[in-house]
């Protein structure tokens, strides 16, 4: 288990930790996320990045921030897992890329960008990964309608005579 006091000592007292059913969670301010993840990788043995995902807290009654970005880490030697969470806000949701720490972050960050519009600065190839390039919005944001804004209907209609 990561010692919170040691982390707070290294990265400042804004770090908070909680535990729920053996899930250890760490909340980090967004300007320190690269520093913390880099330290967790190098000094605490969390050498594998499992996933990066995001949560939209729009319409949450007691939410202070719009988006939470979640990093799931695994220590291969001890089997320990850690959830690192940080928050970003509109109008400019931006985080530093962690591609230099884990190469696997490349596509994960692209997916978060594709679905939530969170920009990872310094990313080598920040394009949409699942949706078509011409898609104009970010569909996993909670203010995006479930049935879309006409993207799926914006194609030429082929009649039988012209095919």
């Amino acid at each position: 288990m990561v010692d919170l006091a040691e982390l707070q000592n290294r990265y400042g007292s804004e770090l908070t930790a909680s535990t729920f059913r053996d899930n250890h969670r760490l909340v980090v301010p967004c300007e320190k996320i690269y520093e913390v993840l880099s330290g967790l990788k190098q000094d605490f043995g969390f050498d594998q990045l499992i996933d990066i995902t995001a949560v939209d807290y729009l319409e949450y009654p007691d939410a202070e921030h719009r988006f939470g970005v979640v990093y799931l880490l695994l220590s291969v030697s001890t089997g320990e897992r850690l959830i690192v969470k940080t928050f970003v806000d509109l109008p400019k949701p931006e985080l530093p890329t962690i591609y230099s720490l884990w190469k696997g972050a490349n596509w994960m960050e692209r997916e978060v960008y594709d679905m939530f519009g969170i920009v990872f600065s310094g990313h080598p190839d920040l394009r949409r990964i699942l949706l078509p390039d011409e898609f104009a919005s970010f569909p996993l944001r909670k203010d995006y309608p479930l049935q879309g804004r006409g993207e799926r209907h914006n194609f030429p209609v082929i009649t039988r005579a012209e095919s």
């Binding site: 479930l146 006409g150 030429p156 209609v157 082929i158 039988r160």
Partner: protein, 218 residues
């Protein structure tokens, strides 16, 4: 009977001869994107044996096919591929929309799934079901054979005459209201004719249904 013809010679029209040949040698192009594709494979396999109807030659090149079987949901990223495959198929060609998703989008009424391929390509036969049984697909093939035999022509005149889209209007009024930033009303409150559709006049698109021939040929 014409006098003087031997017994093994019979008379017919060119159209009927072409229809007979075409309907009994449909070469399907399997466009299988989901579980309907598994049923399509089962239909072609030995138990149900689509070869009994001459439609067993699955070709994975659209240039060699004349029956497009859209089996499964089509997302908006896949639709240009589907349209391209349809355009690449040589004439005469037909299309079976297999399963609830290909026909209407099924349960996948989301931003990414096309709500029926008939909005964008001409469909001849719809097969309901989720997924349809192989018997249903065989019934669709038999129906398509009947359709070809009853209405086909040697040079495909019936295709050239069809200049209006067969399917419903591709534009969903609700989505158009979302684009324009208007409030979304209930179904009864929205009149599609009150919105000017790009490329479709309020009445022009549906004239094909009002002329007595119906939107779906058959």
């Amino acid at each position: 009977m014409a006098v003087g013809l031997p017994e093994n010679v019979f008379m017919t029209t060119l159209d009927a001869a072409a229809n007979w040949a075409r309907s009994n040698s449909l070469w399907p192009m399997p466009f299988a994107t989901a579980c309907c594709g598994i049923e399509l494979m089962a239909t072609a396999a030995s138990r149900h044996d689509m070869a009994r109807f001459g439609a067993e030659v699955m070709r994975f090149s659209p240039r060699q096919c004349d029956l497009l079987v859209v089996a499964g949901r089509v997302v908006m990223k896949m639709l240009p591929v589907l349209q391209r495959i349809w355009l690449q198929m040589p004439e005469p060609k037909w299309c079976i929309s297999m399963g609830a998703c290909a026909c209407t989008g099924g349960v996948f009424d989301t931003y990414a799934v096309v709500q029926g391929v008939d909005r964008f390509i001409p469909v001849d036969i719809y097969v309901p079901g989720c997924p349809p049984r192989p018997e249903q697909l065989l019934a669709a093939v038999i129906d398509l054979q009947d359709k070809i035999k009853s209405g086909g022509t040697l040079m495909g005149r019936e295709f050239a005459a069809e200049t209006t889209p067969r399917g419903p209007n591709p534009f969903d009024p609700k989505e158009l209201r979302r684009i324009q930033g208007l409030p979304i009303l209930s179904n009864s409150g929205v009149s599609s004719s009150s919105i000017v559709l790009p490329g479709h006049s309020a009445t022009g698109h549906h004239t094909g249904f009002a002329n007595g021939k119906g939107g779906i040929r058959g």
